[in-house]
Amino acid sequence: MNGRVEASVEAVFREERGRLLAALARRFGDLDLAEEVTSEAIEAALVRWPVDGVPPNPGGWLMTTARRKAVDRLRRDQVYAAKLAVLQVEADRADPFPAPTVAGELPDERLQLFFTCAHPALAAEDRGALTLRCLAGLTTPEVARAYLVPDATMAKRIVRAKKKIREARIPFRVPGPEELPERLPGVLQVIYSVFTEGYVASSGPLLQRIDLAEEAIRLARILRRLLPAEREVAGLLALMLLIHARHEARTGAVGELVLLEDQDRGRWDRPMIEEGQALVVAALTGGASGPYGVQAAIAALHDEAADVASTDWPQIVALYDVLFALEPSPIVALNRAAAMAMRDGPEAGLVLLDELAGEPRLREYHPYPMARADLLERLGRLPEAAAAYREALALARTEPERAHLRERLKTVETS
């Protein structure tokens, strides 16, 4: 089989891999074993199916093969056997292996895996990597490349996280209804951090990298299918679609950041915006709104506007008020101040921004001096604007943002 055919077959298995892994991890309570036999079953399919043809029940074939491999492995490995034999028997008795559906699909038990990978007992930086690996079906080198870290570093992090799951016995289970409000935000946070990391890492030198923003959207789609009644899941998916719809217009000819106000809105992805808009409605209907739903509504108002001038700023300010009530953070206050500047003029916005001076969370947050610089520039206070641009430039991490800031600084200094 040549490389290309193999790659496309692998892509087909990405979805199956997550389902198989979730079912096996739950039954064996061991992510390593589950991963190993999942990979072996898929490898076996890659060898057998082109020769024998695809079996009538592919999901069942994969599950049976993976289970057989697990049993083989338990027989070979006495340590494993001692540890897991009891567990396995107990688990099988209490919770028999699920039968694949008539269509040959594996039952979807990925929800418990989402909660395990996003467990608060794991290091925050490891949760996204583990979720990508177990639920998006990426290999460790792919995850490493996506986060722009060496393979060995990522492998170490994933091993560490899996060791903790195994040895501290973090369970593979879906939290009950009373726990869900406490635990679901953690899962959403992991997916959203993968998404925002996609934007940060987009400055990287590697062209052929996994697009983290798209992986995050894919994960949110899976989660939405698993939890269709959770409005914040809809809100998160909406938010990411409504932001990602602008990504083509977000970068200029030489890779520099293009601000919302200067973007060519004709390059925005309309079908993606429409999908996001429909989800915003779902996120905001039927009860109190959550922070992702409100942020998605703000993003939708930007996406609907023909230009900055005709944007519904009073509505955006009102939504920021709602968001601030839900999440009273200085970052929300900063965004609200920028919206106020658009509604009531730069002077009003600057007053609010200056009230935030000294906030510890904004001290190294370059959007803060960037927002101040922008308003000072509009007010014609150019030396102060230049100082603020320099401050932002010293803090900005990604090259597109730095390129944008250098350009703005040059304009201010020469006018």
């Binding site: 001692a82 501290a168 016995r169 973090i170 369970p171």
Partner: protein
């Protein structure tokens, strides 16, 4: 699976008691956790002024010192060893423990399992 819950006292008042935590809270918690049958061992430690540290140097010389006193902000005040199915259950017990409040914290440590042991 056994877990050790190490109770680090938070802010102490003049009498050496944890601020914002009444003895009745502890009695209620202890009754609940003991009654649930998960407790393997549990002790509350005597006041820190009674602590003594022993160290043996490479040459075998023993050093005994008074203390340690509050060198760190957190003071180990006691522990529970519980036997529960998984980490989530252990974390639920830790969150119920009065020692987790008032600036205190509980460290949850799985007890190492050795096969054949």
């Amino acid at each position: 699976m056994k877990y050790l819950l190490l109770i680090n006292a938070g802010e102490l008042d003049g009498g050496g008691d944890v601020v914002g935590c009444e003895p009745e809270d502890w009695m209620r918690f202890d009754k609940e956790i003991q009654g649930s049958g998960v407790v393997v061992a549990a002790e509350s430690l005597a006041d820190l002024v009674t602590a003594t540290r022993v160290q043996v140097a490479n040459d075998g010389k023993r050093t005994v010192t008074d203390g340690p006193f509050a060198e760190t902000r957190e003071v180990l005040g006691g522990f529970y060893v519980i036997d529960v199915p998984d980490l989530d259950v252990a974390l639920d017990w830790a969150a119920k423990c009065p020692g987790s409040r008032g600036g205190g914290s509980i460290d949850v440590r799985p007890v190492a399992e050795f096969l054949g042991g």
